[in-house]
């Protein structure tokens, strides 16, 4: 029984699955604890606030006039009065970042490389997320159906493609990190 179990654990796919699932559970557990503690303080979590704040700055940079920004316990509202969009906790992109980190932990055995790539990944995902929300504010301001089309199809694919690009670039990043 034990030998069967150990031979099963030697399978690369099973090993990846165990490492991936356990790291995802740990990361999500810590995050849920953090969300719980901010809810106890009747406060909005720092990540959602920062993503909303930067998205607001980006929308202003895109030329959205009279762009307002206000935050509550459940999230932030950005945009022109009457055309505001809600940025809730689920929009902060951190869960996608956790999946990316869990993948890195699943395949990597080099901790230094995992940490550096996790930081690069989170920054890149958040960059796309801020770009996405800022653009949504601008599209909402412009009016028309483009806003609904972009929010439903285009931006989701953008974020997924950014993660796939990071996975594809992983061997090159590993090589560059080895040289350092």
């Amino acid at each position: 029984m034990i030998s069967k179990l150990s031979s099963l654990l030697e399978d690369r796919f099973i090993r990846f699955s165990v490492r991936f699932a356990s790291s995802l559970i740990v990361l999500m557990g810590v995050y849920q604890l953090y969300l719980w503690s901010t809810a106890q303080q009747e406060d909005l979590d720092w990540i959602t606030y920062q993503v909303s704040f930067l998205s607001h700055k980006f929308a202003v940079l895109l030329g959205v006039a009279n762009c307002e920004f206000s935050c509550f316990m459940d999230g932030c509202r950005i945009g022109v009065e009457g055309k505001m969009i809600n940025v809730l906790e689920g929009c902060n992109g951190i869960k996608l970042g956790f999946v990316y980190i869990a993948y890195l932990i699943g395949v990597n055995h080099n901790y230094r490389s995992t940490i550096i790539q996790a930081v690069i990944g989170i920054v890149m995902i958040q960059f796309f997320n801020v770009f996405r929300i800022g653009m949504l504010v601008a599209l909402r301001d412009l009016g028309g159906d483009a806003y609904f089309f972009f929010i439903k199809y285009i931006f989701g694919v953008f974020i997924y493609l950014s993660i796939i690009t990071l996975w594809l670039l992983k061997p090159q990043i590993d090589k560059a990190l080895d040289k350092l």
């Binding site: 690369r12 796919f13 990846f16 699955s17 991936f20 999500m28 997924y160 996975w167 594809l168 992983k170």
Partner: protein, 98 residues
């Protein structure tokens, strides 16, 4: 896979439209969408000649991640598929013999 996701999104949009019209209820929409995702995932694993074990583990992890933590089902499935197709450390996982 991304194309399949786009097609699925259009399908999902249609189901939400039906739900908005009160033609079907929320639970039915949710179940149909979940079933569609699992079926499309199964078709992908069949097309790429992966074993039922691979499909089962990936789907189970994705369902648990989705239901327990609200993590994207597709992103978890993509992680497993990416590992099997392009594993950057040990190379791609062997396909089953058909």
């Amino acid at each position: 896979m991304i194309n399949a996701y786009l097609l699925l999104s259009f399908g999902v949009g249609y189901f939400w439209f039906l739900e908005g019209n009160d033609s079907i209820n929320l639970l039915a929409v949710w179940l149909i969408i979940a079933l569609l995702k699992v079926v499309m995932n199964y078709l992908y694993f069949r097309a790429t000649k992966r074993s039922v074990l691979h499909f089962g583990i990936a789907t189970l992890v994705a369902i648990v991640a989705r239901l327990a933590f609200g993590v994207s089902f597709l992103m978890v499935i993509l992680s497993f598929q990416f590992f099997m197709e392009f594993n950057p450390v040990g190379g791609a996982i062997k396909r089953r013999v058909s």
